[in-house]
Symmetry: C2
Subunit: 208 residues, 2 copies
Amino acid sequence: MLVQSSFLQRFPAGLVLIEEAEPADFLHVVIDGAVEMFARNAGRETTLSFVYPIGTFILAAVLKDQVNLQSARTLERSRILMIPAASVREAMQADTSFMSAIVSELATGYRTAIKDLKNHKLRTGAERLANWILRLDVEQGGSGTVELGVEKRVLAARLGMTPENLSRAFTALKPHGVEVRGARVTLADPDRLRQLAQPNPIIDDYTT
Amino acid sequence: MLVQSSFLQRFPAGLVLIEEAEPADFLHVVIDGAVEMFARNAGRETTLSFVYPIGTFILAAVLKDQVNLQSARTLERSRILMIPAASVREAMQADTSFMSAIVSELATGYRTAIKDLKNHKLRTGAERLANWILRLDVEQGGSGTVELGVEKRVLAARLGMTPENLSRAFTALKPHGVEVRGARVTLADPDRLRQLAQPNPIIDDYTT
DNA sequence: CGAGTGGCTTGATAACCGTCAATCGAAATA
DNA sequence: TATTTCGATTGACGGTTATCAAGCCACTCG
């Protein structure tokens, strides 16, 4: 029933999929590509998260039948599964294991948001960047060579700073063994960077 | 079963109930009093939220059987209902309507965290304070006279600033009709304050 | 090849915020 | 009443970040 009512859509890069303050009509599942969640207020804009396969967005708004708190745009060509909000709510009531999965997904998202809040309230921009790089290094095999994966201005918004400030943050990390060439970052001395970053398992979403 | 295994405890003011990075053994329900959720990192500390009756805390950690991301301390004498984590998880699987309630509570908490993140990334300290006061005014009847309800240094941590900076933020709001005397704030011209604050229903948790 | 484009970087400046130190003031205590 | 205490405030200063402007660089396209 869920699958019957939903449909798979292709979108080009840079397309706005949903707008904040609008009703959450569909639960979105990223099958392929990448999506940026962002929000605006009083002329300012910030990026709240990236969603990669297989990830969902605006689940909470769908469940509460409320408006989106965030907008979403594709970062690249993407395939998105769109499931009508009402179908999600019905399926949840009909299928306990599905509801259980939703609880798990919601709890994880909630905890990630809390971590992000701590990241922003308890760290400077350079520290957030250092931890971002260290996480990427772990995710990419710990070779000491890291691909940023997104444009720097997008990364800046994700880290809660301006592109100018991101440049300066990279410069500040240079004495700690961080070299940047385009989208590729090399770590001469990960331990020294770790000393600055002080990665914390209850803020940063990776182990070791 | 839930009620059988759980117990109601009284705590004095200022007592730490749970510590971050420790396993979530009990779901906590604030029956009476007030609780401050806070977190530390690298010598810094910040307050993430206040919990008043009837509110819960560390629900997500309990459900995922993981460690707390936040610490909790009482702001005043409080009565807390403590429910063993395993009981919560069992009851959830046994009772669909209970699980449904958990979904709702999780989704609300998730959305509140996102709002808070937007509040911090998209506003200055003075703007956050202005919106905080306007929300209190609405909650307290819209009379233009507002009780802060917590010590200023606690409020400062909640708003993500130092006590010194909170003092200066109050001073900055003076030209917008905000007068402070101790814990009581009076709004000479709420509309002028609103013009500065630009309250936004998808950031601030109140409706006009 | 050359001009244009867009992302990135750098510099100058100002706004914002944190830290340290001193002081104020109200409430509790002797 | 005098004193102590502690939260709140103020001033000075430095660190952090945003803004504005200019320049750099790689890539695209004519």
